[in-house]
Symmetry: C2
Subunit: 619 residues, 2 copies
Amino acid sequence: MNSPAHPGPGGHQAGTAPNAVTSGPIAGSRKVYAAPASHPSLRVPFREIAVSDPQQPTVRVYDPSGPYTETDARIDLEAGLPSVRESWIAARGFPTVAGRAVQPEDNGGVGPDRLVAPCPARRTLRAGQPGALVTQFEFARAGIVTEEMIYVAHRENLAREQALGPASARLADGEAFGAAIPAFVTPEFVRQEVALGRAIIPANINHGELEPMAIGRNFLVKINANIGNSAISSGVAEEVEKLVWAIRWGADTIMDLSTGRNIHNIRSWIIRNSPVPVGTVPIYQALEKVGGDPVKLGWEVFRDTLIEQAEQGVDYFTIHAGVRLHHVPLTASRVTGIVSRGGSIMARWCLAHHRESFLYERFEEICEIMRRYDVAFSLGDGLRPGSIADANDAAQFAELETLGELTKIAWDKGCQVMIEGPGHVPMHKIKVNMDKQLALCGEAPFYTLGPLTTDIAPGYDHITSGIGAAMIGWYGTAMLCYVTPKEHLGLPDRNDVKTGVITYKIAAHAADLAKGHPAAQVRDDALSRARFEFRWEDQFNLSLDPDTARAYHDATLPKDAHKVAHFCSMCGPKFCSMQITQDLRKEVRAMEAEQLAGMEAKSREFLDQGAALYVPVQE
Amino acid sequence: MNSPAHPGPGGHQAGTAPNAVTSGPIAGSRKVYAAPASHPSLRVPFREIAVSDPQQPTVRVYDPSGPYTETDARIDLEAGLPSVRESWIAARGFPTVAGRAVQPEDNGGVGPDRLVAPCPARRTLRAGQPGALVTQFEFARAGIVTEEMIYVAHRENLAREQALGPASARLADGEAFGAAIPAFVTPEFVRQEVALGRAIIPANINHGELEPMAIGRNFLVKINANIGNSAISSGVAEEVEKLVWAIRWGADTIMDLSTGRNIHNIRSWIIRNSPVPVGTVPIYQALEKVGGDPVKLGWEVFRDTLIEQAEQGVDYFTIHAGVRLHHVPLTASRVTGIVSRGGSIMARWCLAHHRESFLYERFEEICEIMRRYDVAFSLGDGLRPGSIADANDAAQFAELETLGELTKIAWDKGCQVMIEGPGHVPMHKIKVNMDKQLALCGEAPFYTLGPLTTDIAPGYDHITSGIGAAMIGWYGTAMLCYVTPKEHLGLPDRNDVKTGVITYKIAAHAADLAKGHPAAQVRDDALSRARFEFRWEDQFNLSLDPDTARAYHDATLPKDAHKVAHFCSMCGPKFCSMQITQDLRKEVRAMEAEQLAGMEAKSREFLDQGAALYVPVQE
């Protein structure tokens, strides 16, 4: 994916200053850091939305946007973000290593005149050793609660104390399809989930800037946004801005799908400045290194690319090791064949060489490399359906079975694993995808692209897929990969990225609500109260996109006075159903008071009459 | 709802000429009329999408847009549309009537200087008689198949002959939750569904311009768009344009929610020029007639308004007769009280008078009026939840129970009935709404507003509700009332209306696919084949919104040559997964051919050796 320059609204713009990205709080919010009582030194980020009614509490929401949304954010891209994890990682005693030397092909063979310099931020480069604990999975299985787990627990508990009624009642009100969402997330619960393979904390030991987060169906549903380099970049700030913009609106992880020139160096800027996990598809860069011909790929260049990216600090790799030689003919009668880029690369390779995939054959070696840095697996669904016609076919489920087999190998090797899923699936065929994935992959987290529930709306595929994403998120998918309005048609611009992220925040939140997540409804209720009480500013600020909500209101009623008016543009000042309801509520209360007064009068009468149970007949 | 003037793209614009509305075909399509073999005089409208590959058939889609999308559409708003149904209605022998005289308050008491003249189109005004068959329901129960039923059957069968495999297999592939979608829709099937009350054909005997359509869960899922007058209108063409614009993109019915000045006369323009059923909420106009004070409402003014609108040709009325006095206190502890405008009007009335609703008490009289013109009931859900917190509460379900009771009364009186539904409902509480509605209302068609699956995204409520709409459509809702991006915030403009309609077409189509509708997947498959074969123009034209799809593609690859290029902007010319898959398919075919050749060689060898089952050991 490439992205053009950034038009559109919001904060400081990339390009206005050489080193500037969008910063400052989202309207009506402020960044806060909080720590669990047991670990006062942790600084876990949240966003607090102020509410104008002093009787109402502020609303605390999950916040993946990093230091960029601090009030006086001081961002220095050359220095990178402060390292949240440095002291934790340092204490684990990983050896420092010299690291692989950068090769010209890492940057697509760009000439010196067009070479973008790497990020100058210096970091200690580390690699884990065989036998020692390295990955979050290994620590978890050894019974050790890491700082990352403590951090994640506090982060996931947001706002539970504000929720009405006991958490158990809210959980019971939801339908979680066998998920085991706890009333309260403890560090030990996080450890157990990671140890069981039901959650991952993507956290490369060389990505200290990361604010740890968890992906698993017993946690909040997460979303991913894809970003990529521009063909002609005006500078690294523009590339980092894509990350900053996506996380500002709620992306929990980003995947850097860049190809071509300068990708190694630009990636260094992105990772040093990313507070969220960064995922990549290493086969894309490996393919570049062999001149774009899949047939020329091989283990050596792939292995070299894995090490290159792992040392840089990439947190998860999509590895299409489930595309096996004997799966390929299963796709021949499909309407849309193989639509995954990684899947088609590997299918091409297998067919051209008439050999089993080197990713499959070398899978244990891949595990060993990824374990060394704690790079999590995102086992790619190279044979995902590209159309409604191909949904849930033999090729797709044959690959899923292989992914289940590989999950167990990766776990045995100490790696964290999630599984990628479709794609294009009509509504009635979505749930079986989730059920099969849970059964075949031992409850490893599912990470799906949509799915799109129809093929007939290019230009609106954020919506066709947002429907499927909400449903599969409800059924148990742990992370949803966003789709923008430009899907199938072109490259997303800044507005498309925002629309995609907001759409997927809707899907993820709708899923959390339906699962009965104990804190999810706090925000809905706060916004609904604001709506009912005509607190317009609160309604805007509590929304996923305050800027758009305010702009839409302004389009009809632009005056400031209207922001406190007890009516809205739908019914006008003369008649408002909300206002009527409020009048009515007063009357109901008056009626109740009257009834109470009546009962009290009756009661007095009763007492006056001597409190006899039967009143003597007046004769 | 009021609408501002119309910015935005598309065809001839209202206001550019005194009598002009958007007309002409949707890009890449043409209007066709077809008749069932048994009734060659019928002209049932479809839209045919041309495909550039001569090996592929054109795709026929359902088309509610009326004559406006004919190639040389000749629209004369003053004459109104040609009457599709005049000869059918005339043959039924309804008496002509003089009709109620128009009163100044019908037009909101507007002075002569600002009075908009009524549509001059002359029509015979008719009213049915007691004892004679009038409504589609009465004809159906009498075993009579009307022309409307024949028309609907042909309309609903679209493209079934193009679908792959037997219809029974496609139905079996879906999950319809007890719906009884037939392999082929016959006029007799339509009659049965109408007779059972499971479908309605909203078709006022004074709305001859109507192209008949059915609403029922065994037919294609339909969508409604709301329109309304502008505070300052530049002319009637602007008002009619709102209708024309909504049906152009796929609205199957429209509701005219106008209030204020000139509404009677503007409504005459809308109905005379509407090929789709027009619904209204008569209590809105009745309220205007009593100066906007709900307490002053009463049976006389309401009855007068029903007759006024029924004579004009309105096809269905929202009647909030389910809001009873004893329901009102059930809403007092809600987070958002009563959010339905009609519901809050009636609650206000009941409470102020401490009396049962006159709509409930006079329900049989309402039935008698509506039956006379075959105005269908849309029994309003005045107590629908306005927030996630209030979903599925006692007030909502108490009203639904009353609506079930009223359904039976309306049927006994010969009326067609559908039931309005929520609103704001989290995903896990949607299905029970459908199940309860089916059980309580005797399978009368359900007509829901969304539902919105979360409250936290004002500005994106077409999406929060599109998710719920797709799901409840799948579960059995017959018609989905659209929501625009401006919901809760302001008045939708032209672009918002289009976005709302397209979003709801997505939801309705996703539901049809999931239910296993025999013809639904034809369009998905045609578009997916076009996508796979790089037929870009076909991909645009087969989409719900060809203009937007083309514009998005142009934004990245504007050159005409790119419209036939065998790559897209996502992967660029160097590498394309679709292209690789096509290469791969050739290789698989070659492999298969090789295997076949190998088997033939073996076979020949076998025969050459005398076809002995065992080859003698070479000694």
